[in-house]
Symmetry: C2
Subunit: 354 residues, 2 copies
């Protein structure tokens, strides 16, 4: 840097000012400086910069443990976060699951390596959040805790997602709809998506004026199979099922197939908080409500950076609804229509009084 300064006939500090726009530099001088940098192949040293300015321009992503995790499993999420960070001149480091122990987290936060952290898979009462608040360390959340007062977060709009899905099915003529959530234990642990979808499902069926039944289910094909069978037995009028449990889907499909029902003519299935990747794995391709992974990760990063750069920050939050993509696993239930004494089918799936 000194070499650059000499070559451009300016002081060391002027080079710094030109580089960071932190004090006015005449256009002429600036040109000379950049020319010198170019010629010398000069690259500012990130660590030195960080040490002097007390801002590393590194942010951390506090990562869910994929075994324990229930939510976003898409690699895309991480890639996108890194991209967004870079667009804003930041680097993204990954803080793995072991660091979710509050003491470890405190240790790393106080090392001064990162300017802020993005917390994923936030629970309603999350000790990591409590800690970060306590030591006043900048952070944003993907998901959100119960008390979001003064906090920045990006989360899925579960209300809208659920309403759209239930309304869509009701519009096809389904009168009884089941919701197959994730596990009971996730609910008990206050895992946001599980708690919120459970509530929003109940709300949505009320709004849509249909019957609804919901059930928890551990994330595995065989539990999906069992729970679906249980629901189908308990609730013979069931013609459509919504699930947020991707791993249970093969079991759900199997339970339906074993009744010699055909999807979508005899039974409709929609997977919410899912992805196109998942949808295309099944035949027929599933109607899904896709999590907007790119949007969420982008927002999570931007919210944090906003906080870091603004003086007085009004911490923002954003809700992003999943996007319903209709594919081959949903439609009017022909089976019920047939069973109810071959009355002609009318648009919208409504059956005229006999």
């Amino acid at each position: 840097m000194l070499d650059v300064a000499k070559r451009a006939n300016v002081a060391l500090s002027t080079v710094s000012y030109a580089l960071n726009n932190t004090r006015p530099v005449s256009e002429e001088t600036r040109q000379r400086i950049f020319k010198a940098m170019e010629e010398l192949g000069y690259r500012p040293h990130a660590m030195a910069r960080g040490l002097a300015s007390k801002r590393s321009r590194i942010i951390a992503l506090l990562f869910p443990n994929p075994e324990r995790g229930l939510g976003i499993t898409e690699l895309e999420f991480v890639t996108n976060a890194a991209d967004t960070a870079r667009e804003n001149g930041y680097n993204l480091v990954l803080w793995p699951s072991e660091m979710h122990d509050p003491e470890e987290l405190r240790l790393f936060a106080q090392q001064g390596l990162v300017d802020g952290v993005i917390v994923m898979e936030v629970r309603l009462n999350d000790e990591r959040i409590n800690l970060l608040r306590e030591i006043d360390f900048p952070f944003s959340m993907i998901g959100r805790c119960a008390d979001t007062d003064g906090l920045g977060y990006a989360d899925i709009d579960f209300k809208h997602t659920m309403l759209e899905t239930v309304n869509y099915l009701a519009g096809l003529g389904h009168k009884t709809i089941a919701f197959l959530n994730q596990s009971q234990s996730a609910f008990d642990n206050g895992y946001g998506p599980v708690v919120r979808t459970e509530a929003e499902f109940k709300h949505a069926i009320r709004v849509a004026g249909v019957e609804g039944i919901s059930s928890f289910c551990r994330p595995a094909p065989h539990t999906g199979y069992e729970v679906t069978n249980k629901l189908l037995t308990e609730c013979p009028g069931l013609t459509a099922l919504i699930t947020m449990n991707e791993r249970a889907v093969p079991g759900i499909m199997q339970a339906i197939a074993e009744r010699d029902w055909h999807v979508p003519d005899d039974f409709s299935l929609v997977v919410i908080v899912s992805s196109a990747r998942m949808a295309e794995m099944m035949t027929p391709a599933l109607t899904t409500s896709d999590i907007q992974v790119a949007e969420l990760s982008r927002l999570g990063v931007e919210l944090l950076i906003q906080q870091l750069e603004a003086e007085e920050h009004e911490p923002l939050h954003e809700l992003v609804a999943c996007k319903l993509v209709v594919r081959g696993s949903t439609g009017p239930c022909l089976r019920v229509l047939k069973e109810s004494s071959s009355t002609p089918v009318v648009a919208g799936g409504k059956i005229p009084e006999a």
Copy 2:
């Protein structure tokens, strides 16, 4: 740090020595120093350390673009890499796809932020590798380029993976086996897995003494469907198919189902370089040869760190075979056995001469 030194009645430098074990410190003094650190809640500052020591203890993962990517799509890979890095006292930063442009890469490498980089999705002739070699920047690879001389890498053992799979199918009695690879363009671009599996398939069928046919296929259900139909038409004796193309699988299954064939009794399918997650999405659960994601990422990180820490490094490399997990999509082909005039089935699937 000065406070710590004062409180422990030693010089600043002694604290540093105690902290890094870089010069001998008497046990007694060490105790005093650590006690003082504890009491003052002292945390060494990562940036200052990095600046002074010229080692940031940060490594970068040069990330594939998930849209363009053909290989590892598991989030687990990244998590594991971050875990391994942390276990060795390193932080892992993500360098997104935009940085794969060699000029960008050079820029970032020379910023001094990271000590080394792990390159994923390496092509046989990869300009990123060429650049890193040229500027003599430490790196390791997941996958490998053509000329691996003096380079550290961790890659899938395609030879073993393919041999094991083909032998397994041959052992079940299959006489004609198809291999459905990824796309032709990936092959033309010199993407390692595609090139290597193509060669190893040919080698493996020769070793196993069976007939083999292979075909490229773009990664989508409908192309899987088309290519499978083509193979089935061209090659009527086909009873088993190996694929490395996960996204084509639903199409493959559909083509089989449309012939009223049942998996595995009429046709066997195995997906190589895949995962349990994928396998469980289908009914029946697929026999897969699972990519050892955790192992690969661990090795990639360790290989790099070894290079960074050792003086004279004999760059190591490791090949990790995929692990064959037999599930419900493979078995002896009963259809062929029946068709060839009800001769009794003998163990191993061999049909005695009539």
